[in-house]
């Protein structure tokens, strides 16, 4: 029941409320199951007794007001119990929603998560536009602080679901949906798109990293920095290739000529844990494989295979791996 993508291993306020509700419903459902099986066992046993009666048909046809009255009482009990279960579960789920709603606080930081077929754009909003950080496929959260997530979609309906932290919420084109979230236990968790969104829906995930608050602030400050220009000549050649090849029309890297919007922002790409929305670990070997043939790793995704010479490929990998 533990795991980085498990609703039963809560690491946040919303997640704890959902897990508590889950356990309560499991307990109630188990009780009901036991009661129904007991009733079944009782009537089977009774049936055996009746078939032992000399004339079962006459026995079945008899009228027995006392027994009927008793049965009526049991029906009453069952009706009351069912209604009670219904009301209790209803109250519990209301309580769960309220626990999540109580997270709302004034002046909380806001993070915008935008679903794009089949990756996530994440923007750390700020009242000063220059301080807004734009990244992709990774969501960083400070432990212990309420955060307001603004959920949007650029194309089709997606759904944000980080089960350890909170329940699901849809990202619907044309709507801004808001989700208050408060992580409590630092660690790395996994979010998965939870609404079928096309051919690579399965491989639309992202890491959710919960930091201690100071660590988070440091991370965010580092993200605001532009990237340093490449130190060695291979990486510099990589930057030139990136700008010369179609890469720059789809990807942006702050401080360079690349400001495409169709694909993930790659500004601090080397700090990210994964490639292609959680699909592969971010290592030079995997990056090479991705650049060689993105369609082999995520068939149908919107990054085309760009023909690259061997030295261009090496240079690109060196450059991207240096984007810290």
């Amino acid at each position: 029941m533990t795991g980085w993508q498990s609703a039963l291993d809560p690491a946040g306020v919303g997640g704890s409320a959902v897990a508590a509700l889950w356990w309560a419903m499991l307990a109630m459902a188990t009780l009901v199951l036991v009661a129904v099986l007991a009733a079944l066992g009782w009537s089977l046993a009774r049936h055996l007794r009746i078939t032992a009666v000399a004339d079962p048909i006459a026995f079945a046809a008899r009228t027995d007001p006392a027994a009927d009255q008793q049965a009526t009482r049991w029906v009453g009990v069952a009706v009351i119990a069912t209604t009670a279960i219904l009301l209790v579960t209803f109250a519990l789920s209301l309580g769960t929603s309220r626990a999540a709603a109580r997270l709302a606080v004034d002046g909380a930081a806001e993070i915008e998560v935008t679903g794009v077929q089949w990756w996530w754009e994440v923007r750390y909003l700020d009242s000063l536009p220059a301080r807004i950080v734009r990244t992709a496929n990774e969501l960083h959260l400070p432990a212990g602080r309420s955060i307001r997530l603004r959920l949007r979609s650029r194309d089709v309906i997606h759904s944000f679901w980080a089960p350890n932290l909170h329940g699901k919420m849809d990202l619907i084109p044309g709507h801004d949906n808001y989700l208050w979230i408060k992580a409590e236990r630092p660690g790395t968790y996994r979010a998965q798109c939870a609404e079928f969104c096309g051919v690579q829906h399965t491989k639309m995930a992202m890491a959710v990293i919960v930091h201690a608050p100071e660590e988070y602030d440091a991370w965010l400050a580092a993200q605001r920095e532009p990237v340093r220009s490449p130190a060695d000549s291979v990486a510099l050649a990589g930057l030139r290739t990136f700008e010369a090849q179609p890469c720059a029309t789809c990807h942006s890297i702050r401080g360079t000529m690349a400001y495409g919007q169709a694909g993930p922002d790659l500004t601090h790409f080397a700090r990210r844990r994964t490639i292609a929305a959680g699909e592969r670990p971010n290592t030079p070997a995997e990056l090479t494989a991705w650049l060689l043939n993105p369609q082999g790793i995520k068939p149908g995704n919107h990054m085309p295979k760009v023909p690259l010479a061997a030295d261009e490929l090496n240079a690109l990998v060196a450059y991207l791996s240096g984007l810290r």
Partner: protein, 325 residues
């Protein structure tokens, strides 16, 4: 009951005897009924059958075949899912398979199967000769059959829908799903749900108007109550998905913007319309099952049902609440 042979049917109906005609029916009348409702010989007769037991059985057999087809698709999906990144199905094919599976199970198996039993059993249980509109009954079956066959024809022609049985826009809109796949979905859904509506109208009329003398509503077998609730639910639920599908078809083919956010439309509209149907749907599927249980337990326990009123009320309440929760 003197029926004048040589007059056309319309005339015969006008000269029909008073209801309190004391004479018992004769064998001649049987022949007459036979000519009107019988199936006639040969292939043509087979296709023109209107008897509720024949139609009911055809619904049951046909939807059972669709269950097998949907099950076969499910088995292939499970094989694909046996190991990560298996290559039995491409991602595109997998999406077609689970969409076909969902559409088959929900639209071509679960509901028609319940309707089949309802059409077969209801007239027998309420003591009437047939459904209220036997020819409409046959029409409903053929609409269902043609819808189902079209879906599988599309599948084998490489035109299977692939946006899930719930088919949410904007994914199912023209921008993200070009081609004819989704058009197959909207057409077939409208078709098959028309058949469900036809069956529902008939069941409601038959149950409310054709019960044997003395069978007041509160003496009706519980199975018939369950079917009545199911039919009423179909009447209210299915128009939702039909309207949603037609609007999507218009979006895709006539440039309307019902679900296109950039044009002021809203994909949420589809979700509301679809689940107005989709949520009651699972209880529409459940109702005949509840009816079966109430009849089977009663028969084998050799006791009249206990708590008839409570059970009836809860069937009706379930039918109503299913639209709201």
């Amino acid at each position: 009951m003197a029926i004048t042979r040589d007059l056309p049917t319309s005339e015969r109906l006008r000269t029909a005897p008073e209801p309190h005609d004391p004479k018992p029916p004769s064998y001649d009348d049987h022949d007459e009924l036979d000519r009107t409702w019988g199936s006639g010989p040969g292939v043509r007769g087979w296709f023109s059958a209107v008897n509720h037991r024949v139609i009911g059985l055809r619904f049951i057999v046909t939807s059972f075949v669709f269950l097998l087809l949907g099950g076969a698709l499910a088995l292939v999906m499970r094989l694909q899912l046996m190991s990560p990144d298996a290559t039995l199905l491409s991602p595109e094919q997998y999406n077609q398979f689970f969409t076909m599976h969902g559409v088959t199970m929900m639209f071509l198996f679960a509901v028609p199967m319940g309707e089949g039993f309802a059409i077969y059993m209801t007239p027998l249980l309420i003591g009437t000769r047939d459904m209220s509109f036997p020819r409409l009954n046959a029409f409903g079956y053929y609409v269902f059959l043609i819808g189902g066959l079209s879906l599988y024809t599309a599948f084998f022609l490489g035109l299977a829908p692939d946006a899930g049985w719930f088919n949410y826009p904007t994914l199912s809109g023209r921008e993200y799903s070009p081609g004819a796949r989704i058009d197959m979905y909207t057409t077939i859904i409208t078709f098959v749900e028309l058949s469900a509506l036809v069956a529902a109208v008939e069941l409601v009329v038959t149950i409310l108007k054709q019960r044997a003398p003395g069978m007041a509503l509160h003496r009706m077998p519980l199975f018939v109550w369950a079917i009545l609730v199911m039919a009423m639910m179909i009447l209210f639920a299915m128009p939702g998905v039909i309207v949603a599908s037609i609007m999507l078809a218009l979006d895709r083919m006539a440039d309307t913007l019902f679900y296109v956010p950039s044009g002021g439309g809203d994909p949420l509209l589809w979700q509301h319309l679809f689940w107005w149907f989709g949520h009651p749907e699972v209880y529409i599927i459940l109702m005949p099952g509840l009816g079966f249980i109430s009849s089977i337990v009663v028969a084998f326990a050799r006791r009249p049902i206990f708590g008839y009123t409570a059970l009836t009320v809860s069937l009706v309440a379930t039918g109503i609440i299913s639209f709201g929760l």
